[in-house]
């Protein structure tokens, strides 16, 4: 298996061709991803039986050359009669003639892709949970992705401080190891850096009220000792016009001075978003193919788990920490083992992921020797020291830290930028926008009868504005400068229709309403405003259009 992977990586993309049976047209299907083809390798069993019968040391290459093993691309696979495993090639299905297979999977787990193949006990999971892990969580989990993090300038990169090898891994996962050290030789396992997660001691229990709805309680001491600590590097790039730089030779005293604009006057700085922060990891000055100079500044940040960060086991069981509890408050075993994570038992019945307990049980046998019976463990309550009168499931479970973290998602606003046209607060998080108070939220306040609160939320704190209305003709009165008696110039609201300013009053309206009336006005439609004196002093508005 391992040599196969490396064969594919060395030979790079493979052009696949498919011959349509009926038309005989050869369709070039383009380049296949080597990793994808790797899992579609099947064994052609019908021919060359004599080759296999002989004894000898077969390399993968020799099997390939003889046509014993074929590389099959995705589209090609559609036309193959592929058996699940050798077992099905040789056994007859009851009452039916044996199926004439053309190919056979090297291993049953190759039916699924790479990301499905690397987590254990997928066959115990509900299909949807397998997909969650294979498609979403395995992509989002933070690991140690590169061997050269210090010289890279990714826009965003995450690295886990102490990745661990899971207690259980599949054959496919073992093949991820170095080419020099396949598992077959010396039983060498891949380095822990290849896995993106840690083995946390997980207890299935309720802990106060902090583990409701897929939240869980985390051990603060474990976090302080470095559990799930990750490093995040974000790079900012700015291009520079290199007019002056070309003429002028760079002198040694031309050092970069942060926070100071060069004499040339141009500021090429990139502003941080208001929630972003970090330490400068490195500064790269370079130029691109068009010989434009650019600078990249990388900011580094070290994060330990916090409330609202996302974690997941390998079985689609995602959750967030709801509380970071001190070590001494957790229940403990007679051996002194304290859980790192306490998850709620409600996460299991409806999801049908018995796998977590399976890993748990078997994991326990590895971890704690003979002490545990059926993965359950007896505990003492940490707060009172009294015995917990039930057995608690506990054991190591491989947990992944996902890239969704509370710090990247905080959104709050007291006051801030407004939309230039509507004068409503902007919604964008990057621009210090607000959280939408939508229709359903409005309904909620109405249901509560909280009209003052509603008025404040939707009007005062949004696009409150004022306009003038003439009470006698109901038209909008604009502020103009006019000549009054004795040639005096007066600037103020004036009704052009009535030719007077006597009945003009000021009303509070949402800016949106005012804008609408002005837009109508520009089309020759004049809105009339029926106004009424409002007896509640502080609500002084009218919505009449």
């Amino acid at each position: 298996m391992d040599s196969l992977g490396h064969f594919l990586l060395e030979h790079g993309p493979i052009i696949t061709k498919k011959v349509e049976r009926i038309s005989g047209v050869v369709a070039n299907l383009g380049r296949a991803n080597p990793l994808q083809t790797m899992f579609l390798v099947v064994l052609v069993f019908s021919r060359n039986d004599s080759y296999l019968a002989g004894e000898g040391n077969y390399t993968f290459q020799s099997l390939l050359d003889k046509g014993i093993v074929e590389l099959i691309a995705t589209e090609e696979g559609e036309d193959c009669r592929t058996s699940w495993s050798i077992k099905y090639l040789l056994t007859e299905v009851e009452g039916k003639r044996p199926v004439k297979y053309t190919h056979c999977e090297l291993d049953m787990s190759f039916l699924l892709g790479l990301s499905c193949g690397i987590f254990p006990f997928a066959n115990h999971d509900h299909a949807r949970r397998v997909l969650y892990q294979a498609q979403k969580h395995s992509q989002q989990a933070i690991g140690f992705s590169t061997t050269n993090p210090n010289i890279r300038v990714d826009t965003l990169s995450h690295q886990m401080y102490h990745p661990q090898r899971p207690l259980f891994h599949t054959m496919t996962a073992d093949c991820l190891g170095k080419s020099g050290y396949p598992l077959g030789k010396k039983r060498m396992q891949p380095m822990p850096e290849l896995y993106n997660g840690q083995n946390a001691i997980v207890a299935v229990n309720v802990h106060l009220g902090f583990s409701q709805e897929d939240s869980f309680v985390m051990n603060r001491a474990s976090i302080e000792r470095g559990m799930f600590r990750t490093e995040h590097v974000r790079s900012y790039e700015a291009e520079v016009d290199n007019k002056e730089n070309q003429e002028k030779k760079r002198k040694p005293e031309d050092v970069i001075n942060f926070g100071k604009i060069e004499k040339s006057g141009a500021d090429y700085g990139v502003k941080l978003k208001h929630t972003e922060r970090g330490m400068v990891q490195k500064v790269v000055l370079s130029s691109n193919d068009e010989e434009r100079n650019f600078a990249v500044v990388s900011l580094r940040q070290v994060r330990s788990p916090f409330l609202g960060d996302k974690f997941s086991s390998m079985h689609g069981q995602k959750g967030v920490p709801g509380f970071l509890e001190s070590q001494e408050n957790f229940p403990f075993t007679t051996q002194g083992i304290v859980p790192d994570i306490v998850i709620n038992p409600h996460a299991f019945p409806s999801r049908q992921t018995p796998v977590v307990p399976v890993v748990n049980y078997d994991g326990c046998l590895i971890y704690f020797g003979e002490y545990l019976s059926r993965g359950r463990i007896f505990k003492m309550g940490g707060r009172t020291g009294e015995m917990v009168r039930s057995l608690i499931f506990m054991g190591p479970i491989f947990y992944q830290r996902l890239i969704h973290m509370a710090e990247d998602k905080v959104k709050f606003r007291y006051t801030g930028p407004v939309h230039p046209l509507t004068r409503k607060p902007v919604a964008d998080r990057k621009r210090f926008g607000g959280i939408k108070f939508g229709e359903m939220e409005r309904d909620c306040l109405i249901a509560h009868g909280a009209s003052a609160n509603l008025n404040e939320r939707l009007f005062t704190l949004s696009d409150s504005s004022q306009m003038h209305v003439c009470q006698s003709c109901k038209n909008v009165a604009n502020v103009i400068e006019r000549t009054a008696a004795a040639g005096r110039k007066i600037r103020g609201p004036y009704c052009r229709v009535c030719q007077s300013a006597d009945d003009v009053i000021r009303v509070s309206v949402p800016y949106g309403a005012k804008l609408l009336s002005q837009e109508f006005f520009s089309m020759g439609i004049s809105l009339k405003f029926e106004t009424q004196l409002c007896y509640i002093i502080w609500i002084c508005s009218s919505f009449c259009c």
Binding site: R225, G226, Y371, G382, T384, G385, M387
Partner: protein, 318 residues
């Protein structure tokens, strides 16, 4: 003084005592006392740990935060910690390491000049105070004593350098786990196991054997001479209820009865090496006493007696 006295006289019997390990029995007291002792040992016995790090040069592969975190977790010998001041309570300084009452300064200078990878360990930390040094594990048996192996901080390759100043301060586990002297502190209730001999006699030898084997830990055994089931090690019992379920499955409920003694506890205490395990227990008792002093009612307040009644008498130790 009227009313019943609730005062008890707890006893401690030491079973095993090593520098970093202690096992003892605590008797004639209740769970609140045992648990208070456990909690104080984990969270409130002070030690000294590196708290501030000023990095001068760091060209290693690990970043500054990583190294600072690793430094913080190195246990330092903290016999002095009980008499030391917290930086926040220190009048002499503002906790920047200038003051000998509340802080200890460390220096680390390492540069790799050879082609071989250089391990920077806790042995490279130079302390300003010879009583506060990184814990040395080499003297304990089992390690190769010829090699001075400290706790590894970072590995340097040729040309890489690490230079820093670190300030260690007193603290408690509640503030940060690095200040906790406890590696493991746990207790168990002493189990009391009664075998119903009459009922046991009705079992065949095979049944006895399967009963004995049903316990995941070796609690029971069969006496080879009398072929009777005997309790070999009651403390091996982990309250897993397996034998009770086995008895029920065999149709013999009540074959064994197991109780947890409410007033005796078996403690296992392991230390990180910052202070001796025995000292950790003693310090915990001291701290517990200090905490109780804070709530103790004074001897002569009559109002307190009216207010709290028996509780007042109890708290005064009458």
């Amino acid at each position: 003084m009227e009313g019943a006295s609730y005062q008890r006289f707890p006893k401690i019997k030491i079973r095993e005592l090593k520098d970093d390990y202690a096992k003892f029995e605590l008797r004639d007291t209740d769970a609140s006392m045992a648990n208070a002792l456990r909690r104080v040992m984990i969270a409130e016995v002070p030690t000294i740990a590196i708290d501030l790090v000023e990095i001068e040069v760091n060209s290693s592969v690990l970043n500054d935060e990583f190294i600072a975190h690793r430094l913080g977790l190195i246990p330092l010998t903290s016999e002095r910690a009980m008499s030391m001041r917290f930086s926040r309570d220190c009048d002499a300084c503002d906790g920047d390491g200038q003051c000998e009452f509340c802080s200890v300064e460390f220096h680390l200078r390492a540069k790799c000049m050879s082609d071989q990878t250089l391990d920077v360990t806790s042995n490279d930390l130079y302390s300003s105070d010879h009583t506060v040094v990184p814990v040395n594990f080499t003297d304990s048996a089992g390690y190769d004593s010829s090699e001075q192996r400290g706790i590894i901080i970072v590995k340097l390759r040729r040309g890489q350098e690490l230079r820093l100043r670190a300030i260690a301060r007193k603290g408690i586990g509640k503030d940060h786990a690095k200040w906790s002297p406890a590696a493991t502190v746990t207790f168990m209730y002493e189990p009391e196991i009664h075998i119903n001999e009459d009922m046991m006699d009705t079992l065949t030898l095979e049944e006895k054997q399967s009963f004995v084997e049903s316990s995941p830990t070796r609690v029971f055994d069969i006496d080879p001479n009398t072929q009777q089931v005997v309790v070999v090690d009651p403390e091996a019992y982990t309250y897993d209820d397996e034998v009770l379920k086995k008895a029920e499955a065999m149709g013999k409920p009540g074959l064994v009865e197991i109780y947890a003694k409410e007033d005796s506890f078996i403690f296992t205490v392991e230390s990180t090496g910052a202070i001796k395990a025995s000292q950790m227990v003693l310090n915990a008792i001291d701290i517990l006493k200090q905490k109780l002093d804070a709530v103790r009612l004074s001897e002569d307040t009559v109002e307190a007696d009216d207010q709290f009644g028996e509780l007042g008498a109890h708290m005064r130790g009458g």
